[in-house]
Symmetry: C2
Subunit: 181 residues, 2 copies
């Protein structure tokens, strides 16, 4: 896990934002030479595979400024400081979809962009859903539209790139494989 | 594709690095209110599922400073300015593994972190491999170790999180599903 370790000799903080921080680390490479690494610090995030009592997968469409387009994803959101991922998962599912879930199970975690960012996404599966009576508010800068599709439709949407983000594509395919076992 | 579009009124460049750029966009939300978006600009990347003539998947282990650990990935690298992804795929496979391939096919593309970055990864499948006689040099700050595993072993490594990054996990599972059809 530490093979080819790069030791930090100095960290230069560049930006401290609402979502990300950026720093440049001076490092010593395994061959003793010096190099610089540009690193995005992100608090981490959760994403939720929510299955309705009719067996449909709950998706949300939202505008992603970085891509300058709207995309279709599973409900997701970033961790607040010191928050357990399961807590974030419950909150984001409620806020983005109006669903609560009696059953939450952890599925998998992964790094999204290890070449430049430390973001880890924790995937949960939510079942035994119920409608929240007083739907929690979205963040004030968030606008989403719900879709409910079958797992077969979702896999088709991965194949034709209507689903276009790594967490959603991986989560759908991985979950479908586990179900098929 | 433009649902809930956020119009940019001003862009503040923050950082222009070797790998990433960071900017903060002032936007107008669909409800007319103003907000800020922190955006990482990345040139995009390729990743290669390379299958040896013995049917093994070629993996590389390397240190990822952002995660402060070494991880096991499929060969990958970022696009140079204006470069076609297939060209990057050939170069990165050769540099990181010493393999060339007579057959390259495009598999899928996806966004890795649409919440804050524009990075798109293009996945290719490389078959009919051959050893490069004079192995191309790695970038001078790159150190990698090769592994060759069966597709079954690779899927097991996703399940137990020895494979821990989105592109590799998705590519392995997606490729395995296509093969099984």
């Amino acid at each position: 896990m530490k093979k080819f370790e790069e030791k930090t000799t100095h960290t230069t903080p560049i930006f401290d934002g609402k979502i990300v921080k950026l720093q440049v680390d001076d490092v010593i490479l395994p061959n003793g030479k010096a190099a610089k690494r540009e690193i995005i610090k992100h608090p981490g995030a959760v994403a939720v595979i929510a299955i309705t009592n009719e067996g449909k997968l709950v998706l949300v469409e939202q505008y992603r400024k970085a891509l300058e387009r709207s995309i279709i994803e599973i409900p997701a959101g970033k961790l607040e400081q010191g928050e357990e991922p399961i807590v974030t998962a419950r909150r984001e599912l409620e806020e983005e979809t109006g669903y609560g879930a009696h059953e939450f199970t952890f599925l998998q975690a992964f790094a999204t962009s290890p070449g430049f960012a430390d973001e880890i996404i924790h995937i949960f599966v939510a079942k035994d859903l119920y409608q929240i009576e007083e739907k929690a508010d979205l963040d004030e800068d968030e606008f989403v539209e719900l879709l409910e599709v079958s797992l077969e439709e979702a896999q088709e949407m991965v194949a034709n790139e209507r689903i276009y983000d790594a967490k959603t594509a991986f989560a759908i395919i991985w979950f479908a494989m586990q179900q098929a076992k």
